[in-house]
């Protein structure tokens, strides 16, 4: 009986012809361009894997043991990012059926629930992931606060994180109007009326009368494209929700992750 011994003199159960195929595949330029370093069995090789891979390079090359503990961070930032990806994918799919037009928006939302194949689970995934993202982003912030991870040298990343929290809330707010139902309509009526109380820029805010600010040239007017919530407000909420805010959030997220790489994980408590 012949046994196959590999380089380390261990018994291998892989038939020789399969081995030859594997070796051929590993010698192709395609394989080599994906797996550039080889099996990462040494520390320099492991660091090289992180450095040379586009997908892995958002992680640090080296993380302290404390940073790997689930208890330390609960992976709340990671879950938030995962939910953002989920929201992007389900959101793009919803865009294939939903039209942000006064007479269609509500009916399209109902169609998504009752007519479109898998529409209900798509819409519900989008909705619950949105609620979940607000929840996890706040837990992430609380964790960063309680572990003191906002302190120098990470103070600037805390600021970026606050902006990302704000963008998450704005994404939720603009998405709230899109079903064009009573709940969202009046919530956005109330929310944008608060903008009219902005100092200097809102027509009901302090000092704005000295600038000649009226109902038809204040900040609320720019937000909703009119003096009342109507078709202009719907299309504006849609474009900010689907394009504007996600682009800004993505740019800030790239920055957020890059800063984590540069600053390293915060130490144990």
């Amino acid at each position: 009986m012949s046994t196959n011994l590999n380089n380390n003199n261990e018994v291998s159960f892989v038939p020789p012809f399969l081995k030859k195929i594997f070796e051929y595949i590993k010698s192709t330029p395609v394989w080599k361009s994906i797996f550039r370093v080889g099996y990462p069995d040494t520390m320099p090789k492991r660091m090289a894997v992180m450095r040379s891979s586009f997908y892995m390079h958002i992680f640090p090359t080296k993380v302290g043991m404390h940073g790997m503990k689930i208890k330390y961070g609960w992976c709340m930032g990671g879950i938030t990012f995962f939910l953002f990806l989920l929201l992007t994918i389900t959101g793009i799919l919803l865009m294939f059926y939903y039209v942000p037009e006064e007479h269609r928006a509500y009916n399209d939302m109902k169609d998504l629930r009752y007519v479109v194949p898998f529409g209900m689970i798509l819409r519900n995934m989008h909705r619950w992931a949105a609620h979940g993202m607000v929840f996890t982003v706040i837990l992430h912030m609380i964790r960063v606060f309680y572990t003191g991870s906002y302190k120098p040298p990470r103070q600037f990343n805390w600021t970026v994180g606050v902006l990302l929290l704000l963008l998450t809330l704005l994404l939720s707010f603009t998405g709230y109007l899109l079903p064009w139902d009573q709940l969202g309509f009046w919530a956005v009526t109330v929310g944008t009326n608060m903008a009219s109380a902005t100092p200097l820029l809102g027509y009901e805010g302090p000092f704005s009368k000295y600038l000649g600010i009226q109902i038809d040239n204040d900040i609320r007017f720019a937000l909703i494209g009119g003096t009342r919530i109507g078709p202009n407000a719907l299309i504006r909420a849609y474009v900010w929700h689907c394009v504007g805010l996600p682009l800004i959030a993505t740019a800030l997220m790239i920055f957020h992750f890059w800063r984590i790489r540069k600053d390293g994980f915060s130490g144990p408590m």
């Binding site: 009326n193 038809d216 720019a222 494209g225 009119g226 003096t227 009342r228 078709p231 202009n232």
Partner: protein, 194 residues
Amino acid sequence: MDKENEFEKRVSRRRFFNITGWTGLCAFLGSSGVAGARFFYPKILYEPASTFNAGRPEEYTAPAGNERVVVDERWKKNQRVWMVRNREGIYAVVAVCTHLGCTPNWFPTEVRFKCPCHGSNFNPEGEVIAGPAPEPLFRARIELAPDGSMIVTTGLLGIRRANLQTQKKTLGVFWTEEEKEVIWKPPYFLQLKA
């Protein structure tokens, strides 16, 4: 030393291009920013007209018996206005809560307007009797057309608190004495013969 060299000494070519280049870039970015901000302010609005014909005053029932007012809701859905008939005449109340802009409802048995969003209550004159609203409900202007029908203006001129344009803004949940002199006269109140 001729004049050209003198100039070049003070402003070198590198410095000249540096200044003009940065000035040009700043001018471009600045004007783009202003244009971008201006872009978000539409010139034309396709919103419902702020003026409508509310018919003749005789079409509205006058209060009878113990009734203080009769609130007519026929324009509420399309124009967001109540036509309120009291014993002396008729006035138009804008159905926009002064708190954050929801539409209140009229409860005849309780003789008050109630806002479903945050619970503001208003009496038939529009004064706040409960809740967070900071000022009374706005009055719309009523003008009589030559044929005797009422032209109601709810837009920019009409919806602001009756005397806001002319007098100093004073927030209060009840009409002040000065305001009462304004709101019970034309164009905010249409006196009718008994």
